[in-house]
């Protein structure tokens, strides 16, 4: 396979050693199909083992490898090197974050704000040991589904011009998650979340630049979530709540096969298993 040599200009900075960030260049032989992350691993394994970056899943699921590639926040594992169509590629850490080392940034602010908006279902019926499932229609699911795809990679905060000027802003990621849970038909803590996001540092600090939605590698639209939160804060939301499913039918349809035996010791089959349980599997 044909290889093309591409120069990677990577911002290096170790706060305890360097006075200020600087760029270091590396030449990498790139083949068709190589991602930026693979090129970074090539550099670390063959050219400079001191370079630091985060990565984990390599398939756009974990959000660890978000960085500022060619002037734009992207996931390194989802960015095809040759598709950037440049013989020089500049990589910097995500803006609007403190640098820990090289391309690794401090994401504590992201997760702190995420935690603030109570990103979990709150319901008086929710327990740690639910006995029935909630009924949720497809239409109810679609109300929040796209916001469920958020990886917490932090690209949206890196792109946000408001985050650049106000570190107290809750940020598009947290606000989109507030919308996600407020819109979930199983959740009943909308008012509690509005106490947190309906503030000057919350939804009203957003200037609707829309850069967060443009930057999101998973196609989530936080800007829309923020505008919808504003609408709901003024006019209220016409949310449909879902409730627990009714009692299970006693006579099961004959075309539905037996559920597999439980794999967890002590798990209940709720009368739907094949009756053999763990014995049947052993």
């Amino acid at each position: 396979m044909e290889r093309k040599t591409i120069v990677f200009k990577i911002q290096r900075y170790a706060p305890n050693q360097d006075k200020e960030p600087y760029f270091k260049s590396y030449e990498v032989p790139v083949e068709q199909g190589m991602t930026i992350l693979e090129c970074l691993w090539y550099i670390k394994e063959n050219l400079d083992s001191t370079i630091s970056f985060r990565s984990s899943c390599r398939m756009g699921i974990c959000g660890s490898c978000a960085m500022f590639i060619q002037g734009r926040p992207r996931l390194a594992c989802e960015t095809q090197t040759l598709e950037l169509k440049s013989s020089t590629i500049e990589i910097k850490p995500l803006p609007n974050y403190d640098i820990i080392k090289d391309l690794v940034v401090d994401q504590r602010n992201l997760f702190r704000n995420h935690k603030k908006v109570k990103p979990y279902i709150i319901s008086e019926k929710a327990t740690s040991n639910p006995t029935k499932e909630y009924i949720q229609s497809v239409a109810q699911l679609e109300q929040y589904l796209q916001f469920n795809y958020c990886l917490k990679c932090g690209c949206c905060l890196a792109a946000c011009p408001t985050m650049a000027t106000d570190t107290n802003f809750l940020g598009p990621q947290a606000l989109a998650q507030a919308f996600r849970y407020n819109t979930d038909s199983r959740d009943r803590a909308g008012n509690a979340r509005f106490q947190i996001v309906d503030t000057f540092e919350g939804i009203w600090r957003c200037h609707m630049a829309g850069a967060c939605s443009d930057a999101c590698p998973k196609g989530v639209d936080p800007a829309m979530a923020i505008q919808l939160l504003k609408r709901h804060s003024i006019f209220g939301s016409r949310k449909e709540y879902s409730d627990y499913a009714g009692p299970l039918p006693k006579n099961r349809r004959p075309d539905i096969p037996d559920a597999p035996a439980p794999t967890v010791k002590g798990a209940r089959t709720n009368g739907r298993g094949n009756g053999k349980g763990k014995k049947g599997r052993r």
Partner: protein, 122 residues
């Protein structure tokens, strides 16, 4: 109070001001346009005309409403600009200062409007 309620009042005040400020502008400064509508206004800024309006209850209500709405709308905007530029720990101080300035201006403005009403016809 939730920020959304403050913002909604800000927008509502702006919408009301379009009507009230429009009435003020047409009566005081755009008498030519009023002439096109068939309403003749002679020397709206003359002392006698000003005092004639001052003794009118309708104008008293309009001016009081305009004063309060304009103060709220303007000062909410000033507060927003200041909060975006000032450190968060000073936010409550900024809001308090804005409220105090607004109250002083409202009392002073009300005094002039009410005093003019009480002097009406003099």
């Amino acid at each position: 109070m939730r920020e959304s309620r403050l913002w909604f009042l800000f927008v509502l005040a702006g919408a009301c001001m379009i009507v009230l400020l429009g009435a003020h502008l047409f009566v005081m400064h755009l008498e030519t346009f009023m002439g096109y509508l068939g309403i003749t206004i002679h020397e709206p800024l003359a002392y006698a005309e000003v005092m004639a309006r001052a003794k009118s209850v309708s104008w008293l209500v309009i001016y009081m409403a305009l004063l309060i709405l304009a103060l709220y709308h303007g000062l909410y905007g000033v507060r927003s600009v200041l909060l975006e530029t000032i450190n968060m720990k000073h936010h409550s101080t900024v809001t308090a200062v804005i409220v105090i300035v607004g109250l002083i201006a409202a009392v002073f403005g009300s005094y002039i409007v009410i005093q003019s009403y009480m002097m009406g016809g003099l």
